[in-house]
């Protein structure tokens, strides 16, 4: 049973977004959640840990009208449970219409624990959230994309974990009100302590799991050097680089970038497969991609059965030509009718 909003003139219910931070900033996925939250009500953000103007500024820029700030050593030095304490405290205080978190390892766990504490329903892996009678309507993709399911939480405050890239973040500037939240941390908050943080060597590219564009190379790239072509195309499109298991086994590219059955699962808006045959083990890691473009010299490669746009050709000539064309179009504002890409 959903909590009825306070009887108040022109009341717009608050929708609480749990902020995920990066070093000195806010994760793009959080800004997407704020964009989603605007559909449902008035976006409010919960910021865990010390705040600064830049951070609240970004949150305001993307529509947060209120920023709850929870502080305490527990939030910085311990994992998950401290954030649950903070989230539950805010929900009890402000009774939002819904809580949105990012569907990632930490977000899902915070969501699950909070749902238990609040005796609320929870939906994870949401691809879309729309307002509806009796609460938000959540879309999930099930059976590996062959079905889409719409569901609603019918108990307590809906807690929804939304996948990154579900919507694109849209700015809607606001001057957020800062509200300090006193949190009483329970014993469990100190359950798992962070002992060390090591910054990952940055490639300057977006994280593979988050990226809107992924350019991946396979055995057909032929060599480790040829992956520079993949990197160049990825950089031109602002995307991440991926590789097949064959390519990582051959040590042409790092194992951290393996996309497929035993590697990462990605679902970007655009997936460009260079020199990838498209065996099912690879397909398992990228079949959720919205648009798939394939370049392969073998016209019989199975990748052509699943791609939206296929080029039969040598990656070593097609990829450079593609990079060149994109660069040209970026520079020249004109040239609306080039070689058709529709």
């Amino acid at each position: 049973v959903q909590q009825p909003p306070e009887p108040k003139e022109s009341f717009v219910a608050e929708v609480l977004v749990l902020v995920e931070r990066t070093d000195g900033g806010v994760r793009k996925a959080t800004l997407e959640l704020l964009t989603l939250a605007r559909r449902l009500g008035e976006p409010a953000a919960l910021l865990c840990g010390p705040t600064d103007e830049a951070t609240t500024g970004v949150l305001g820029e993307y529509g947060a009208t209120k920023v709850y700030v929870a502080e305490g050593g527990e939030l910085e030095d311990y994992l998950v449970v401290a954030k649950v304490d903070a989230l539950v405290a805010v929900v009890r205080q402000s009774v939002p219409a819904a809580v949105l978190v990012t569907s990632g390892p930490e977000g899902r766990e915070v969501a699950a624990r909070s749902a238990v504490r609040l005796d609320s329903g929870i939906i994870t892996d949401a691809l879309d959230v729309e307002p509806g009678d009796g609460g938000p309507v959540v879309t999930q993709s099930v059976f590996s994309g062959s079905w889409s399911a719409q569901s609603q939480v019918v108990r307590g405050t809906p807690i929804i974990a939304v996948r990154p890239n579900a919507v694109s973040a849209q700015p809607a500037p606001q001057q957020p009100v800062l509200v300090a939240v006193p949190v009483a941390f329970g014993d469990a908050a100190q359950g798992a302590r962070v002992t060390n943080r090591t910054a990952k060597t940055s490639t300057g590219r977006p994280d593979l799991a988050d990226a809107r564009v992924v350019v991946a190379g396979g055995r057909g790239m032929g060599s480790a050097e040829a992956f520079q072509l993949v990197e160049r195309l990825a950089d031109t499109l602002g995307g991440a680089v991926g590789a097949t298991r064959a390519a990582t086994d051959l040590e042409w590219y790092g194992r951290d970038y393996q996309v497929g059955q035993t590697g990462k699962t990605v679902a970007p808006e655009l997936y460009i497969a260079g020199g990838i045959s498209g065996a099912i083990q690879h397909r398992a890691g990228m079949q959720g991609s919205r648009t798939i473009v394939a370049v392969n010299k073998d016209p019989k490669a199975p990748i052509f059965a699943i791609c939206d746009f296929g080029v039969v050709g040598d990656v070593h000539t097609v990829l450079p030509a593609l990079v060149e064309e994109i660069e040209t179009r970026k520079k020249g504002t004109a040239r609306p009718s080039g070689p058709s890409q529709d």
């Binding site: 059976f143 590996s144 062959s146 079905w147 298991r245 194992r255 059955q261 035993t262 083990q281 398992a284």
Partner: protein, 718 residues
Amino acid sequence: MTVRLVVGLLMTAAAFGLAGRRLLTLVRLGRRGQAVEPGRTADVGSRVRAEVVEVLGQKKLLKWTVPGIAHVLAFWGFILLMLTLVESYGALFDREFHIPIIGTAAWLGFLEDLVAVLVLVSVVIFSVIRLVHSPGREGRSSRFFGSHVDAAWLVLFMVFNVVWSLLLYRGAQVNTGVFPFDSGAFASDWVASLLEPLGQEANELIETAAILLALGVILAFLVLVVHSKHLHIITAVFNVAFSRRPRALGALLPVHSDGKPVDFEDPGESDLMGRGKIEDFTWKGLLDFATCTECGRCQSQCPAWNTGKPLSPKLLVMDLRDHALAKAPYLLATSEEERAALPEPQRAQAERPLIGTDGAAGVIHPDVLWSCTTCGACVEQCPVDIEHIDHIVDMRRHQVLVEGEFPESANPMLRNLEHAGDPWGRGSGARMEWAAGLPFEVRVLGADGGERIPDDVDYLFWVGCAGALDDKAQRTSRAVAELLHEAGVSFMVLGKAETCTGDPARRLGHEFLFQMLAQQNVETLNAAGARTIVATCAHCFNTLANEYPQLGGHYEVVHHTQLLAKLVADGAIRPVAPVDATITYHDACYLGRHNRVFAPPRDILERIPGARVAEMPRTKEQSFCCGAGGARMWMDETTGQRINENRTDEALALQPDIVTAACPFCIVMLTDGVTLRQQQGQAPENVEVIDVSEVLRRSIRTSGAPAHTTPTAEGTPL
């Protein structure tokens, strides 16, 4: 005489005391193990046969000719030398003792001496084997790598001592006139001729000294046996008697706790989910560990060990045994006070995790546990019937079901099985993609509204996840469908109603997920009234045939190569068009070793005109795994050489045009290997990896061009 008797009996009492105490500890330790699952004593006939064939007949040892013969000599030698032991003990009481009735016959004297000499021969052979294949010379590739080599040499030395001290005693006996045999005992007579010049008195002295020496040596040997890997001379008899029959391959046993299968619908609070501590193993498990002779035949065949991975079945069993013995004082202590009073190193054993990294002082390293492909080469080889795979899977079960610790790379497979019913996450909607483009309609159960398989259907064709979804396996499915169609065999498929049989989940240790999938499939199959099933996947075949009976699913299951071989033999399929190619066949572990289907795929290839079949060195029972079994298909393989490359190189050495297999996962692995070697320029471009059925299909076509080499799936993702 009195001295003899007193010293002899005192030695005997001392040795029996020492050995008895040890045996008692071992028995008590064994009894700390879990109850064994039922059926270990069922079918007495096959167990007696196993004792005759494997113990008395030494059949599994004779798989290796030279070491096998040496072992036969030592084994039968020691059994027959028991006669001389009887004679020696008799002589403690009466110098002129001989065995009643036959005791003075020349043939018996000859037999005893012959046996003694042959045991010496076996010692020489064993020594040469140990010198030539010593770990010092051969390193990791020696089967003795990691075995207790010094103890093994000590055993050989003691066997040598047993024989020469016996012959010394018998030689002296000849000279003192108390030897039971006038003739026949050629070796004793020869020793006597050497001793004779020493004179009567010296020979009398030697006789007494040598009988005590001979008895002392054999008693010391007894004490050594119960404290070393040589314990197998006692335990192997029991281990073979209680082992799984006909062999511990094929089906995995359901999860048992306290000797009863765990009900996964409603598990008991205290039910053990696999093995998380050494005392969680059954007494048969502990008996397995105690019986290992460290011979390393398992290690020599293990695909993981042979490609530089940390798993050796021998070292795994040795580590478990050593830990069980080290933890014994703790386990056998009767009170907490007694435990607290134990020395620190013994108490520390109790703290060791069964599975853990070196830093955590784990008994078995996780990398060891997860390297196993469950190919069964170790079980096949083991001369004392140790059940390695069962133990490994039981430990995996604890890791997965209780600890939640397993290779991360296997996660998508498990998730996909749960959500989509197949390991790749394609979902049931994609299950019929394989049949697109076939020149005839494939009958799908339920398509015409019927819920049961009609009587005119000969076989239910179990397509399998790979057969339905994997590009290459789809071609196999089409080839089999076309061949059956051609031969007039009517078949039907389940279409969307089929899900993964659960094999990868079960071999990973996720029994819960296996039970879920298997139950669903058994319900589907039983509701459809399935009786005869044909499967193209060796893993599906094994699970359907051997494991579904555990859940109430009893079907007659054949592998497609069995069915096709029969159709070819009956003339229903006629391979006429020549396939001019050198073809090698790779045995899938779950078809060959696990289910003994060796001949049918070969029979098919032999019948194809023009085909030249070449066998790899490691073949049939000794076939080398492709690397995909035991859910390894779904895990990263980062240590050592990739198993599929090792096997691919073996196949490519035959310079084949076609590498065939009869399991979709073998095909994926070998294709991967061949593609890699082609890219490296180490294999000709024309080599292809295809299923046996596809070769057969080429042979029934006169036009030559295979009909479906291009993917026909029309679907595009959302």
